[in-house]
C-alpha cells in the first residue's frame, strides 16, 4: 500500500484525470458537510479514481469501527449539592462574592518592576554600561570625573587621560555617591532576577487561577 499521505497513481486506476489529491484533502472531502459547496473538479476526480475511492472506503470503515467501539455511557445523575466535593466555595443560595484580585495586582506590580528594571538597564547600557554609583574595575566615577585607586584603598586619585583609555564608560548616569565595593550593582542584578522570578510565578498562578475560575477558557 502506498503512503497514506501521498498516493500518486498509475493511469490505469486514475480515470478521474489529474494527479490524486493529498490524503489531507481527501480526508477533508470525506468530512464535507452534507449539502455544502462541493469542489466539482475534486468530485469528478474521485468519481473516476479507484484509489481515491479506496481511500474514501477506508475512511468510512474507520469511522464505523470507531463509532461502534465507543463504550456505552452509564447514565446517572450529576446534580451537585452543597456536599459535593469542590463546591464548598459556593454556599447554596448566597450571593457570589467576587474573588480578591490578588494575582492580577501582583502580576501587574511585577510587570511594572520588570519594565522599569529593563528600561533602567537599557538606559545605563546606552550611557556606557554602569548603573548609578557603580564601580567599573578600578575606576570610580564621582560627578562625572573618573578616579583610580593606585594601591591605596582609602585614597583615590584623579585618573589621567591615558589611564582611561580602554576602560570604557563615561559617568553620565552617576549620582555623585561614592562607593567602592560594587554592592549596589549586585543588588541591582538581584532585583532584576527577583522581579523576573516574581513575574513568572505570578503569571503562572494567575493563569491557573483564571483557568479555575473560567474552566471553559
Amino acid at each position: 500500500m502506498s503512503s497514506p499521505g501521498l498516493h500518486n497513481l498509475n493511469s490505469e486506476h486514475n480515470r478521474g484525470g489529474g494527479e490524486c489529491p493529498a490524503f489531507e484533502t481527501l480526508s477533508a472531502w470525506f468530512d464535507r458537510p452534507a449539502g455544502g459547496e462541493e469542489d466539482s473538479a475534486l468530485r469528478d476526480h474521485i468519481d473516476g479514481c479507484r484509489q481515491c475511492q479506496s481511500v474514501m472506503q477506508d475512511l468510512s470503515i474507520l469511522r464505523t469501527a470507531l463509532q461502534r467501539s465507543t463504550p456505552p455511557a452509564a447514565m446517572r445523575s450529576f446534580r451537585i449539592g452543597t456536599d459535593t466535593p469542590g463546591t464548598t466555595g459556593r454556599p447554596n443560595a448566597s450571593p457570589i462574592s467576587p474573588p480578591i484580585p490578588v494575582f492580577p495586582v501582583a502580576a501587574a506590580i511585577a510587570a511594572i518592576l520588570v519594565i522599569a528594571l529593563i528600561a533602567g538597564e537599557m538606559l545605563f547600557s546606552s550611557n556606557g554600561g554602569d548603573p548609578p554609583g557603580s564601580v567599573s574595575g578600578d575606576v570610580l566615577f564621582i560627578d562625572g570625573t573618573p578616579y583610580t585607586n593606585d594601591g591605596n584603598e582609602a585614597e583615590f586619585n584623579a585618573a589621567s587621560a591615558d589611564d582611561m583609555n580602554g576602560l570604557g564608560g563615561d559617568s553620565a548616569g552617576s549620582t555623585g555617591e561614592s562607593r567602592t565595593d560594587g554592592r549596589s550593582f549586585t543588588g541591582w542584578r538581584i532585583s532584576q532576577i527577583l522581579a523576573v522570578v516574581l513575574f513568572l510565578a505570578t503569571s503562572t498562578l494567575w493563569y491557573r487561577y483564571r483557568r479555575n475560575e473560567d474552566p471553559g477558557r
Binding site: 500500500m1 497514506p4 499521505g5 490524503f23 489531507e24 480526508s27 477533508a28 468530512d31 458537510p33 452534507a34 481511500v55 472506503q57 477506508d58 475512511l59 468510512s60 470503515i61 474507520l62 469511522r63 464505523t64 469501527a65 470507531l66 463509532q67 461502534r68 467501539s69 465507543t70 463504550p71 456505552p72 455511557a73 452509564a74 447514565m75 446517572r76 445523575s77 450529576f78 446534580r79 451537585i80 449539592g81 452543597t82 459535593t84 466535593p85 469542590g86 463546591t87 466555595g89 459556593r90 454556599p91 447554596n92 443560595a93 448566597s94 450571593p95 457570589i96 467576587p98 479555575n212 475560575e213 473560567d214 474552566p215 471553559g216 477558557r217
Partner: protein, 223 residues
C-alpha cells in the same frame, strides 16, 4: 451554536423522574436558570445539569473511551462550571460546558500520558477494548474476531497523540464539524483538519494496511 452534523448518537436529554424539583425548574428559560444560578440558586443550576448531563457524559465517554473516568470528568465539569458560572458570557451553555468537558478530558489524557512516561517501571498497558457491537446473534468465532479487532483498534488509537485522537473522535464519533472542533479545542481550523487527517492516516496504516485485516474491519462495519 453546536449541533450534531449527522445525528449519529442519541442526544435526547436524560431526565430521571426522581428529580421533580429540577424538572419544574427545567421549564424556565436557560437565561433565567443561568441568572438564578449565578445568584447562588443550586436548584436552578441543577436544572441546567439535568438538561446537559447526558450530552456531556456522551462527549466525555467518546473522548476518553473509559466509562468510569468519563463519569468523573463529567461530574468535575459541572462542578467547575458552577464555580466559574459568573464568567459565563451568555453565548451557549452547551458549548461552554462542552469546552470545559473537552479541557477536562485533555487534562486527564495528558496526565495519563505523563504518568506513563514518568513512571520508571511503566509497562506498556494493553488498552481494554470495549466493543459495543457484539450482538447476541454473533457466533463465538465472530465474537472472538470482533474482540480482537476491538483490541487492535484501541491499541492503534492509544498510540495517537492526544490532540489527534481527540480531534478524530470528535469528528467521527461525536459528529462535530471542523469549526466546532476548533472552537471546543481552542485551535485553528487548519490545525483540526491536519490533526484529523494525520490520525486517520496513521490508523489506516496500522489497521488497514494488509488486505486481510482490511477485510475483517470491512466485515465488522457491515455486521
Amino acid at each position: 451554536m453546536f449541533s450534531m452534523r449527522r445525528g449519529r448518537r442519541d442526544r435526547s436529554e436524560w431526565s430521571p423522574a426522581s428529580h421533580e424539583q429540577a424538572s419544574a425548574s427545567i421549564d424556565l428559560s436557560e437565561a433565567e436558570l443561568i441568572d438564578r444560578s449565578t445568584r447562588g440558586d443550586l436548584d436552578a443550576y441543577n436544572a441546567i445539569v439535568e438538561r446537559y448531563q447526558s450530552a456531556v457524559l456522551l462527549h466525555c465517554t467518546a473522548l476518553l473511551r473509559d466509562a468510569p473516568l468519563a463519569e468523573d470528568v463529567t461530574q468535575d465539569t459541572f462542578v467547575k462550571a458552577w464555580l466559574g458560572l459568573k464568567r459565563f458570557r451568555g453565548d451557549s451553555v452547551r458549548s461552554w460546558l462542552m469546552r470545559i468537558a473537552t479541557n477536562g478530558c485533555l487534562d486527564v489524557l495528558r496526565q495519563r500520558t505523563r504518568r506513563a512516561t514518568d513512571s520508571l517501571d511503566a509497562h506498556p498497558v494493553e488498552p481494554v477494548a470495549v466493543w459495543s457491537s457484539q450482538t447476541k446473534e454473533s457466533s463465538p468465532e465472530e465474537r472472538s474476531e470482533q474482540t480482537e479487532l476491538a483490541a487492535r483498534l484501541e491499541t492503534a488509537l492509544s498510540q495517537l497523540p492526544d490532540e489527534q485522537r481527540v480531534a478524530l473522535l470528535m469528528s467521527d464519533v461525536l459528529g462535530y464539524d471542523y469549526v466546532e472542533i476548533a472552537a471546543l479545542t481552542d485551535t485553528a481550523i487548519g490545525t483540526v483538519k491536519s490533526r484529523i487527517s494525520r490520525a486517520r492516516a496513521r490508523l489506516r496504516l496500522d489497521l488497514l494496511a494488509d488486505a486481510d485485516s482490511r477485510e475483517h474491519f470491512e466485515r465488522y462495519g457491515r455486521s
